[in-house]
């Protein structure tokens, strides 16, 4: 099938990273579970370091995650966190424009960066023997940028083209991954246009770039993760040599990101001049992270929308024939662990104009009622197996990067990368009763936002 889909991640390069799927753990005995080896410590300047060896292939993945996502970018500068991510490739103290990229490439590696809700990441997958130069280069750009107006103008052009190719010149551009947070949320931090208005992108100045770097790109606001075939003692020595000299910096207080409890269903229609079929997205506000209900939602997601056996797939595709695919998950820009603030559980589909949005909503209500009334221990077990399997996929994805991403998120947000080995316990605690209770509160119709694409192309 010649079929194109767009990748909803704000990133430096246009490459197809595997979509980060929903993950979880199992109800199997602990000795069967995959245990990830972890060394975790902090440098004097506050930089968190996570090391995890895996000698499967002679490669390493190195990632630096900064605790600054698009959610908390400056209010008059929408899209700035992402534009800034691009500037991190434009030149640092000892590496001129394109030199970082060439250093990685000419040594047989690949690199990328991306901007998410609550972090911005930079990573390289390299041949194992390139550990030292890779760490040197990441330390170099953590130490300071050396960029010009010309670099900024160039990347404003590149980023505007990124927005055009992913949003403005695409049918369903930005739907629902970029749109839904803007409709579902009330708090500006969660509800603004993360890609940025083109006018805001144009108005960014070099001074803004320097200020942003100074404010957020400090070692005490970051984590460095290395995964793969390397020697722990040697890595520690190199890290100490290159990163320990970078001074820490006082961080601003984090703004209040909270969302009020939603008490009323919200429904919006968005015209799309480029689309010729309607589409619908339905989003329910998630429970707070790491609560028992949060883990229950991980299993609910599996039962409701992941895989061909899921309730929504069976109803919308098989029984009703409304669509051929139901997309869905927690955090369309990552997975259920790599964010740190309000979130929605969402699903979406395109359908024919002969189907009414209400008949689709009716199927949602039916599936949710069925879940609340009929959930069994067997269902919970099935959901757990699916979670465990997708966790393994996640951990194995992109040459160690999937594992790196989880370790970085747990270190950055919870100061506990070893949590990757404890998820099993958390999901094991979920009972059919907890699923019922969670569905009752979080899959309420009054807790949802519905966004419908009204197609205007013919």
């Amino acid at each position: 099938m010649r079929y194109t889909t767009s990748q909803p991640v704000l990133k430096l390069l246009y490459v197809a990273l595997p979509l980060l799927l929903l993950i979880g753990w199992t109800d199997k005995p602990k000795d069967n579970a995959l245990q990830i080896p972890i060394t975790y410590y902090k440098l004097n300047n506050g930089l968190k370091v996570v090391l995890s060896q895996d000698k499967t292939s002679p490669i390493i993945a190195v990632g630096v995650y900064y605790n600054i996502g698009f959610r908390i970018e400056p209010k008059n500068r929408t899209g700035f966190a992402h534009l800034f991510e691009h500037m991190m490739f434009q030149g640092s103290k000892n590496l001129g424009k394109m030199e970082f990229i060439k250093l990685v490439q000419k040594n047989g590696g690949v690199l990328n960066g991306s901007t998410r809700f609550d972090f911005t990441n930079y990573f390289e997958v390299m041949p194992a023997h390139m550990l030292k130069p890779t760490l040197w280069a990441e330390a170099d750009r953590m130490s300071g940028l050396a960029i010009t107006d010309a670099n900024l103008i160039n990347q404003q052009g590149v980023v505007k083209n990124e927005v055009k190719v992913n949003v403005l010149n695409q049918p369903y551009g930005g739907f629902p991954w970029l749109d839904m947070p803007q409709y579902a949320n009330e708090n500006w931090y969660n509800a603004h246009n993360f890609y940025g208005d083109l006018a805001d992108l144009d108005s960014a100045k070099l001074e803004d770039v320097h200020q942003f770097f100074k404010t957020y790109y400090a070692p005490d606001n970051a984590v460095l993760v290395i995964v793969g075939d390397f020697d722990i003692a040697e890595a520690k020595k190199i890290i100490d040599q290159y990163f320990n000299v970078i001074p820490s910096s006082p961080l601003p207080n984090k703004p209040d990101l909270s969302e009020p409890r939603q008490e009323k269903e919200k429904r919006f229609t968005k015209e799309d001049k480029l689309a010729n079929k309607p589409a619908i997205a339905v989003a329910y506000k998630m429970p707070d992270k790491n609560t028992p209900e949060f883990y229950a939602m991980g299993l609910i997601d599996q039962l409701m929308v992941q895989g061909h056996d899921s309730k929504l797939y069976q109803a919308m595709v098989q029984e009703k024939g409304y669509t051929d695919v139901v997309n869905g998950g927690i955090n369309y820009l990552g997975n259920m662990f790599d964010y740190n603030g309000p979130m929605v559980w969402m699903s979406d589909m395109t359908y024919d104009s002969t189907t009414s949005a209400d008949s689709i909503i009716h199927q949602y209500d039916k599936a949710i009622n069925e879940l609340m009334n009929n959930i069994t221990a067997e269902d919970v077990k099935l959901a757990s197996i699916k979670l465990r399997s997708s966790l393994y996929d996640q951990i194995g994805s992109f040459y160690g990067f999937g594992k790196l991403n989880l370790l970085a998120s747990f270190a950055l947000f919870e100061d506990n990368p070893a949590k990757i080995n404890d998820l099993e316990n958390e999901f094991n605690k979920v009972t059919p009763e907890l699923v019922k209770k969670t569905a009752k509160e979080y899959l309420r119709s009054t807790n949802r936002t519905i966004l419908i694409i009204d197609p205007k192309a013919h």
């Binding site: 499967t56 590149v158 083209n161 075939d229 399997s389």
Partner: protein, 457 residues
């Protein structure tokens, strides 16, 4: 005088010092990379299995790859291969879709069937302990499809919806025109059906397509990951040895069109123009294929490549340029694709032309070439360090009749490429005046930029 001299020396000293600390340190000694070993079994009916143990994660990827696809559709049967595979997914004579999808979910997996130009793939990843069971499901699907009449109209509706949605995507519009032009009159050039065409498809047509094109001789089962190989072999042997041999592998001969045609698809008011520009080029069997891969990485196929450095990192005309070699049995194309901001459509094309000409006329420096060679060597390791990627590599060898030496000598052959060879393959095979150009964008805006149509390109 003396003082000044000291001062100058001090500055030089400082610069030298900066230069010393400003250089990245070298890496340590490269580690050996050993290709994961494959185990191949040939069955009397022509079926083959290829298994590779890889990694420590208790999962495996199972892919049954059948050498049939859109290429075997007739002129009025576009997407009949897709309809066949979608209907195949609906269940077997032993298990309906609901039972099957639940069974597979209990293994931690899902079955997906995808259709490409030349191959159809039934694939899934499951927890290690379920590999034999999953192989049985795959075999049941491909050998005993139920093709339920009750689902035919629904799936035809799905295909029509996908077709309508896809036709509005600029990259798909460009691809339709581009492949339509390069493979005119051949199934490779039939990109989209019409609704009327889909309406005419019957269950009998699906069954005929299946009977004609599916069978053991055209199929290879790949399993890669961490799994019990003996159990997987027993499952494959039990399930697939009974399959009918079916037709031999056959791909209709093809000769792609070389022309310098320029085609514009009007997309009123589009903020970008989607460009596809390219031509027929060397196929994987050619002795200069590896040099061509190296040349493409230098010209357009990597982030540090010349075209990407130019039109993205220097000019800011685009976010997403990339050049690639697209292979199908019997034909390969070199293609540069980019979505460029509308007002710089022609500027971007001029730069692409300039870079293609430059590399064809002037051999690159040894340094630049060495950088690309190391890149290719590194990417080769990555291409063999993931179960799905390993399967891709092995399937590539199989589809293009390459022997194992293609992989075992790959890195050596990459390093054999000389600067002159890079230039030569570009000059002989990636010549801009022989390229077909497709532009999907605002026609008026594009035409305003064309001072003289021929000269501009």
């Amino acid at each position: 005088m003396k003082k000044i001299r000291i001062y100058i020396l001090a500055i030089i000293g400082l610069l030298n010092f900066n230069l010393v600390i400003g250089q990245p340190p070298s890496g340590s000694t490269p580690k050996d990379f050993i290709l994961p070993a494959k185990k191949v079994k040939n069955f009397p009916n022509g079926f083959r299995t290829t298994m590779v143990q890889f990694g420590s994660i208790p999962k495996a990827t199972i892919s049954l790859i059948i050498k049939t696809g859109n290429v075997h559709e007739g002129p009025n049967e576009v997407w009949l291969a897709d309809l066949t595979s979608q209907l195949m997914k609906e269940g077997t004579t032993h298990m309906n879709f609901k039972t099957l999808s639940k069974k597979v979910a209990q293994m931690g997996g899902d079955v997906n069937i995808s259709v490409g130009q030349s191959q159809t793939t039934i694939t899934g990843t499951v927890l290690s302990e379920y590999v034999p069971e999953f192989i049985k499901v795959v075999a049941d699907l491909v050998m005993n499809p139920a093709f339920p009449a009750s689902e035919l109209e629904r799936i035809k509706g799905d295909l029509k919806r996908q077709y309508n949605v896809d036709k509005t995507v600029p990259q798909s519009q460009a691809a339709e025109k581009f492949y339509g032009a390069l493979y005119k009159g051949h199934p490779y050039g039939q990109y989209y059906p019409t609704e009327e065409m889909i309406n005419r498809y019957t269950l009998q047509m699906v069954k005929d397509f299946y009977n004609k094109n599916f069978g053991a001789k055209r199929s290879v089962l790949y399993v890669a990951g961490k799994f019990d190989e003996a159990a997987a072999n027993v499952a494959a042997q039990t399930a697939f040895s009974k399959w009918k041999p079916g037709a031999a592998v056959f791909y209709p001969p093809v000769k792609a069109v070389t022309s310098n045609d320029t085609l514009i698809v009007d997309r009123k008011g589009a903020p970008q123009t989607t460009i596809m520009v390219g031509l027929p080029t060397l196929t994987p069997k050619d002795k200069d294929y590896v040099p061509q891969v190296v040349a493409n990485s230098m010209l357009a196929g990597s982030f540090g490549s010349r075209i990407t450095s130019n039109i993205r990192e220097n000019k800011g005309y685009t976010y997403s340029p990339f050049g690639f070699i697209r292979n199908v049995p019997g034909s390969s194309l070199w293609i540069e694709q980019a979505d460029v901001t509308s007002e710089h459509t022609i500027d971007a094309l001029k730069e692409i032309e300039k870079e293609v000409d430059r590399l064809g006329n002037e051999p690159p420096s040894k340094d630049e070439l060495e950088g690309i060679q190391k890149y290719e060597a590194g990417i080769f390791v990555l291409r063999n360090s993931d179960p799905a990627a390993i399967i891709n590599q092995l399937n590539f060898l199989d589809l293009y009749h390459l022997d194992d030496s293609y992989l075992t000598n790959y890195v050596k052959n990459v390093y054999k490429v000389t600067p002159e060879k890079v230039s030569e393959v570009v000059k002989n095979n990636i010549s801009y005046p022989k390229m077909t150009l497709i532009m999907v964008g605002d026609r008026d805006s594009i035409q305003r930029q064309i001072v003289s149509p021929k000269k501009a390109f």
